[in-house]
């Protein structure tokens, strides 16, 4: 069975995928994950997960290009210029 290993470099850091090990069960996977990704003290913590428990999602549907999810959905520049002129506070060039 393949187990994926995620490691945390320092407290506060996110867990990042480090690689995988082959093991017959969780107990062996614990040993092998610990050894492969922690023997040189390079991680403060590890998550060891059977590969089949990991669901990969890499397709995201956005057919109608919803711009309110992106920065370009909020065109402020012109409106800000107009508002400053009305208030008599045009930005110094």
């Amino acid at each position: 069975m393949i187990y994926e290993v995620f490691r945390q470099e320092r407290k506060g850091q996110p867990f990042a995928h480090a690689g995988s090990v082959e093991a017959p069960n969780d107990e062996f996977a614990n040993w092998y994950g610990r050894e492969e990704f922690g023997r040189r003290g390079e991680s403060v913590a590890l998550w060891v997960v059977p590969r089949e428990a990991v669901q990969e999602i890499s397709e995201f549907v956005d057919e109608l290009k919803r711009n309110y999810h992106r920065v370009d959905g909020y065109p402020l520049k012109e409106k800000l210029k107009e508002a400053r002129e009305r208030a008599g506070t045009p930005r110094a060039r």
């Binding site: 393949i2 690689g19 995988s20 090990v21 017959p24």
Partner: protein, 299 residues
């Protein structure tokens, strides 16, 4: 090349990264497997010349450092074969092909080690030559491989430190110890110069075209010489090549390495090739029952 393959080529050539579940051209996948498999084979075969010296290490510290180095190399082969396996070739198949002589490994691991001087020279200079190639692989278009290279490079840097420590201790020791280092260097220089391979122009190298490698062979060799010849000379050691030197354009010149020897060795005719494959075969045969008992699916 189909339109889809061309699009893929443009993508990787402009720095695009490929993940395991992405579509890839058959040729890319095949070249990738072959290249990465050879790397895995090399790490595994590299263990054999060094492990003899674990048993003979002259201090407890050296024993521990050398065991840890060899352990790292086994660890690297584990990481590398996992990448190959996820590309479609099972690890057991890779190991069978290696032992049967159907796949290759780097020239340097076909040569004998004779003294403690070799231990130092290998850790310092062979690992240095390897780390130069490995740093270039950090930019490999195939992302899972590029990612494990980061860990591999980090661990290799300890190996070079260990190598330099061994060498410096000997160079500061007795005349006999200094002779051991020089003698080992004299024997390893040829293979070291062949290590990065014949200088094929990058545009003719499929590995470069697919951005599996991001550096030409000649360039890697120049980097090695630039980094390490000064380190060799500053210790009062000599390099057995009267032509070795940097020209006015900052390019290292040297006697043409023996490309015939390289070809002869990597096709399975090195001085220790058959012994070492034999050792792997025996160890593997004697432990087949263990793999069956523990990794049930594997043959």
């Amino acid at each position: 090349m189909t339109a889809q393959e061309q699009e893929f080529l443009d993508y990787v050539q402009s720095g695009g990264q490929v993940e395991t579940s992405d579509w890839m051209p058959d040729d890319y996948r095949a070249k990738l497997i072959k290249f990465i498999e050879m790397h895995g084979n090399s790490e595994l075969m590299g263990v054999l010349p060094e492990r003899e010296w674990i048993l003979r290490a002259p201090t407890l510290q050296r024993k521990l450092a050398l065991t840890a180095k060899v352990q790292d190399e086994v660890g690297h082969s584990q990481l590398i074969y996992r990448v190959v396996e996820d590309l479609g070739k099972p690890r057991e198949q890779c190991l069978e092909d290696l032992i049967a002589g159907k796949s290759k490994f780097h020239n340097v691991f076909h040569y004998p080690t004779k003294t403690w001087g070799d231990v130092g020279v290998i850790a310092w200079l062979v690992d240095a030559a390897a780390i130069i190639s490995q740093k270039a692989l950090l930019k490999c278009s195939y992302a899972p491989y590029a990612r494990i290279m980061k860990k591999i490079c980090w661990e290799e840097s300890f190996h070079i430190l260990h190598g330099r420590d061994v060498i410096l201790t000997m160079m500061n020791g007795t005349d006999e110890q200094r002779e051991l280092v020089q003698e080992a260097l004299d024997r390893w220089w040829g293979p070291l110069m062949q290590f990065h391979g014949n200088p094929i122009p990058a545009e003719d190298d499929p590995m470069f075209i697919w951005r599996i490698k991001s550096q030409g062979n000649g360039e890697a060799r120049q980097q090695f010489l630039d980094g390490y010849v000064p380190q060799i000379w500053e210790l009062g050691l000599t390099v057995p090549d009267p032509k070795l030197g940097k020209n006015d354009n900052g390019v290292w010149e040297f006697s043409e390495p023996d490309w015939d020897e390289l070809k002869h060795v990597v096709t399975g005719h090195g001085p220790r090739t058959q012994d070492r494959l034999g050792l792997r075969r025996t160890a593997r045969d004697e432990t087949t029952w263990v793999r069956r008992a523990v990794l049930a699916e594997a043959a």
